[in-house]
Symmetry: none
Subunit: 330 residues, 6 copies
């Protein structure tokens, strides 16, 4: 046998195996970002049946909930609005002070000033249609008006103190629109934009829709979320976001799209790369472990290792609380 074909010599010992991990496959607290669903009632606390162990919270509840996590090393959160305030066609309430996320940003910045606060920006939590853009009469997205609304909401979050704006709407041109707003505000250098660059129209989002009350009232999102099979659109979307100035790129969902993560990272090695382990992934790992198919910690660590291996620097995951414990165990 050619000596270069004897591979066992490279990984027979635990330390050798760590060396084979190569660059960027370890997991540290700073690689994790915790999604938080913020509700209107400041003391609210609501379990989400499809995502066992995940809660919707008001800002007071949230503040208490975060304390032990920050102590364990939590560095970043991603806020979602779940509001019952009166909605309209264009999502005006998203930019209002009454949006519970605005309060959440301020509260975290007061209580945990070092915690990095990222905020999801979209129209779907605020529109009657539940769609991520303003609709025209023919049912198509009005891209121009949608951008105006998205920028308006993003601006209100920036003024509240958000560190990272994370637009998840998939409208064409939103990154540039947000960056232009930041430049006008004079705060382009104190706010990051993490783009949901490559977001597929996936069946893995099911539980989230319960969590965030975000299912569209009619139709689906296939006209703006990417077709499952499309590498091409995925690459074009990532490229566009880089050109428009995104500070970080994202691929969503996670596990079933690691090939896309790899390819985006290979093309854009200069930008930090996020991946979203979405609600359906959370649920299936949870239920699989509960049914005894595998050990939860082992399987979650394997999926996160895989995400890191495929190029992700940032992993948005509902398992963050458990992971902070697991990382300390090891």
């Amino acid at each position: 046998m050619a000596s270069s074909y004897g591979l066992h010599s490279g990984y027979f010992h635990p330390t050798l195996r760590k060396w084979q991990g190569g660059a960027g496959t370890t997991i540290a607290p700073h690689n994790l970002m915790l999604p938080i669903f913020v509700v209107d009632d400041e003391d609210g606390i609501e379990p989400i049946s499809s995502m066992p162990g995940v809660l919707r919270m008001g800002i007071n509840t949230m503040a208490v909930f975060l304390e032990p996590l920050v102590a364990k090393g939590l560095e970043a959160v991603l806020l979602f609005s779940v509001t019952n305030i009166l909605k309209d066609d264009t999502g005006e309430i998203g930019a209002k002070p009454s949006n519970p996320t605005v309060g959440a940003i301020k509260r975290i910045k007061r209580d945990y000033p070092d915690l990095l606060v990222a905020v999801d920006v979209c129209l779907c939590p605020y529109t009657i249609s539940g769609h991520c853009g303003v609709l025209k009469d023919d049912g198509f997205i009005d891209n121009g008006r949608s951008l105006i609304q998205i920028v308006k909401i993003a601006k209100s979050f920036v003024l509240a103190g958000a560190d990272v704006i994370a637009p998840s709407d998939m409208m064409d041109g939103r990154i540039k629109a947000i960056k232009d707003m930041l430049q006008t505000l004079g705060c382009m250098n104190r706010v990051s934009v993490m783009s949901y660059s490559v977001k597929f129209a996936s069946a893995f989002y099911g539980p989230f829709r319960e969590a965030a009350h975000s299912a569209p009232a009619f139709g689906d999102r296939k006209r703006y979320q990417l077709p499952l099979a499309s590498r091409g659109l995925a690459m074009r979307a990532a490229k566009r976001d880089e050109v428009e100035g995104a500070d970080m790129l994202m691929v969503k969902p996670g596990l079933a799209y690691l090939d896309i993560v790899r390819e985006v990272k290979d093309r854009h090695p200069e930008l930090p790369m996020a991946i979203y382990q979405v609600s359906g992934e959370y649920a299936m790992l949870h239920h699989g472990a509960a049914a005894g198919a595998f050990d939860l910690k082992a399987i979650v660590m394997e999926t996160l290792t895989a995400m890191r291996r495929s190029g992700a620097d940032i992993i948005i995951t509902y398992f963050t609380p458990q992971l902070l414990d697991w990382l300390m165990e090891k």
Copy 2:
């Protein structure tokens, strides 16, 4: 907005979305391969608790089971031995006519002569240790003796009529050893070798170990199955197998390794690429759907589409029976 940045125009219509799918993301019966666990008792039929809906079968049961599937278009199976015959240190029984897989090969070739018969080759079903190679006193693999045994077993399957030999043992140099045997037998041109080229030491194999009674009696397989994080060893293993003559390459497990599939396919576009949707993946999709997190058909189709998008030509999956139905539904 730069006109090349308006992406919605590329996928607002269902037909446009299909065009974006790009090459090789559709799923046809010939892309599927069904794993079958063959037991000693020719009329045996045993449910596997950790894999609801999957059975271990004797050759008679199997023959009956296959009939409707072949009618629906099944083109390929992958056989595994689950035997209680007296084992030893080197897995001698694997190469004996009493190995139930030998009978299964012959039976399928008699009853369904057009069905492509692939056979898993390893030592673990036949050794007392349950390890995939012959062990030395110091607990390390004796690579040379292991190759001799693997070749012996493969040869018995070839003589029984197998179309595809699929070594899953991860010993160094087994592809060349098998190909040399085939050349000596004069049947290199009637037997393919599908290498488990890139097989990780994964937590997703849990249910399979129940299914195939294949957990090692002691220790683990980390000295020969690849470390989860290692792109480097994965690429070296695929390269080696190509050089040694593998007809097809495989990545295993599936979903959490799509980045590896992408990279192997990019480096070896000339070879058909297989992916194994393993038992743990089957279980979590099943349980997730059962718990209402998502629709089973939608989620299975999404994962298979993802596998195809990442470069897989052949998908080995326990969902094959359902898929044959779903594909007919369209």
Copy 3:
């Protein structure tokens, strides 16, 4: 300003800066390898004046010295022989049981069985000339005879239980020669070869020569260590070692050769990459800090971060004991 040209938004916050670190720039205990100079006297302990804080030790002293380090997470050591046993022209004593390194290997394997033991292999500690190969009358290296001696020494270390053979001699063809020996011994899968692939004829080795008593008796090593300016030979040497079967590659010295590390890693991403922060680097960082030019911890961490950034997976450094403490602080 074009929005993609506003870079500050990507790194104004500590967590954002960590994300920018990208893959593989964190430092963990498994990234460190501690060099140990082993002397004949089993209870010996000798300070090295040119490397303040570094010791030569006998095997008893070494065993005691290692205990707290292992407790703090030390995973790997690299042993060097410093012997006064009677030398000859071909370094025969290197392969003798009296070589103190042989005892050191056995002792570590007994006391700290999980510690990965790498051993430097060369002729210079054992030859009268102090050169790394056997010399011919015309002063040129006798490459063939040198390989025979190197393999002989390597074999004695393998039989003593070494996990990793690390040839530092720079003879042409030594990796293949060592791998052939391992294959003959039947232990190619339990011994790694970490090649000093790219070793330059550097002025940074000064203090080491005192430490290991390894200055050549006459002449210099420019005929076998690489010219400082040569990218080309560096790349050819790394390529050759990969083809000949090296499990890991090394660049030596470290800091002034990060461009070479980058280029070797880019060409050989499949192999773990080691870098040697050599004695002169240790000395200048130590003396620079002592003179108040910079803080020792900050500067050592910066150089190691740089090494990781340039592609190194393994860092061989005399600062390992301090680093194990510093890593726990942080």
Copy 4:
């Protein structure tokens, strides 16, 4: 052994070793640039304790100091202001005729008209905060106002006769701002811009802060100097500077960033590449040699050879005076 694996034949002779040096690794006077710290007192001469042998000088002292160096071949200098004139929040004095650097430019252009005069441009020598940009109340940089001030200072240096403007401030967009000023002045073709493109927040700057009295009054520069581990931001910064019209790029510090030099040069081979061997590097080589760890000339030449090998065309170094002598010796 394969004949292409015999490498010794390529470098056994000194002339062969020179050939292996490949392109661009020799060092000539035109590869060197001497930093000069200019103080208010025209006859001032102040030693810098942390950089033994380096002086702060007034313009008369400087003129005398330069004479023998020019005679030995000095071709380029880089001027830094060290002024005690009354500072303010925006660094207005930087653009005033009283800035000692203005006088120094004129003096050199009068006395040594062929000497290329580069001038460092930043706000930190002139602001009360000691930061490189104008600060807003929230402690963040006011990027827009910072650019206005930087351009103002650069313009005063251009009008005084500077050949090269070298902005070291790391504000977003300064290269374009300076080039726009030059175009307006009608002298874009007689002034070069050498950008400190890739300047890391390094611990190697310690002694310089004493030399130039440039430590910030509070906080640090991590919000505008690059994170140590970030290849991505480094590449984005270099790319931006090329697009904005920089005539030369720079990486700073030097030794620990040769991988970055290599990568920037590979991506921008069309632009001359500078590297700054900073104060901490000077100090550690000096102290290391003083402590006997290595020979000063040998080690300085090795580090400069390494810089050239990694792609640097221009080396800014405090060793320039000694190097001019050493180059003549050889």
Copy 5:
């Protein structure tokens, strides 16, 4: 105008222009190699009418001639045999001690031991046909027998002390044949092979044929020297030589083949690259200058700069004596 399009700012000053030279365009003595024609008569000295100023010399004359050149920095020569000893069909005399080149090698090694001695190896100076290989009856080259003779001659030069063997014959496979001989002799690490890898069937060789009496007696060399227009064969020849172990590659002639030099260097950056400024080039530059079309020094320096720019590390040129003077002037 976009600021990056103002190029004048990059080269308005002499020092800026030197920086633009980039890597590897300066010329130093070690970049030059002087061809010497050695005749039988040890005291011979013969002008060559077609190459004004170039001489054929015996070894005594040569020794005297070299003295001032070595004093001025000459580092390398390339020897050619011009013999009148009785020739035959296979060039046997080339390997005899009476070959004047054998004496020349020894003489130089005695008188100027540091001078690198390269020796041209071919059959044409020794065969009746004047062809570079042994001919078969059908007029085609007998490649196998040619290799035997070439190796025999090369071996006699090696035993005489040559540092570099430079085969110019263009037979298929000669590099491997020579390397095998060196390996057998045990001196692969003290002899370099500089291959005339890419030698075109050029009209620029005219004067050389007078100089070396090397015109073939009949026919031409188009069956073994490359067609003028062929990039493809040029690249294949260079690749082959690298694989067969050549230490240096060469392109010949020089000026009209700089595109080929560029392409070979780009593909083989790891190997030093030689270029031969052949006799016809020498003649036309000489005559052009004599006729007043340009200044000789300026035009020779421009052509050599061009050669260096295109990737050449070594320039074989008849202008070497003048260049050694010119380099000192500057």
Copy 6:
């Protein structure tokens, strides 16, 4: 010998050699462009001593001279003004109807309407300084005013009927300025711009300066013609011209810059590539042949083959008349 290393089999036969020529190395009349020096006196005819056989001509002489050449296939000419009309600082006369080139354009368009008429555009034939741009008091180019004058002259040629405008001045931004003028004139689609994109400050221009009376009155052109060694500026200049809309790119001079031609063509394969075999090249080939160093036809054909091989589509050469004959011979 590996079978792929036997190269002789690819070129032993003349037809095989032609096949090896690859794409684009043949020479046809349409690959040639003839430079013509036009003087004020319409019947003038002046030999140029430094370019034996080349003439300066008035438009009547020119018309007669062209007749047989057109008959032999001449397809393109490049006109140069050599005028004695009163010059000034800004070259105003260049744009006047009295400029003899204006008449020449009209005459050719009348007499040989199918002949492609390219016209050199520069200020040096018309300014007192003899420089290619308008000078400021400090001796630097006034780039803005120069562009205005160049555009004015180009416009007068366009109005006279020129097909191709060929600016040779090397001012920054002239291609865009000329294209803007063409667009304003409404004739962008009937006039090509062939940019002297990459024009080096070469010693090969000597005889031309006599031919065109174009030596500058003082100083040299090194501030706007490219430094000989600069690949980087060459690539940036070609890139800029492509971006600004050049229809064809040119490298000048020819022979010593084939590496640059190769690289420009590799980067800009979409644009036709011109090369200028300049006066000094003409002279040295002429004198070399006259002195018997080589055959003129063979050597000219070899140099043109080399130019074609390196990527040139258009060759501007004074040998065009002879070549038209030689091409017919063959």
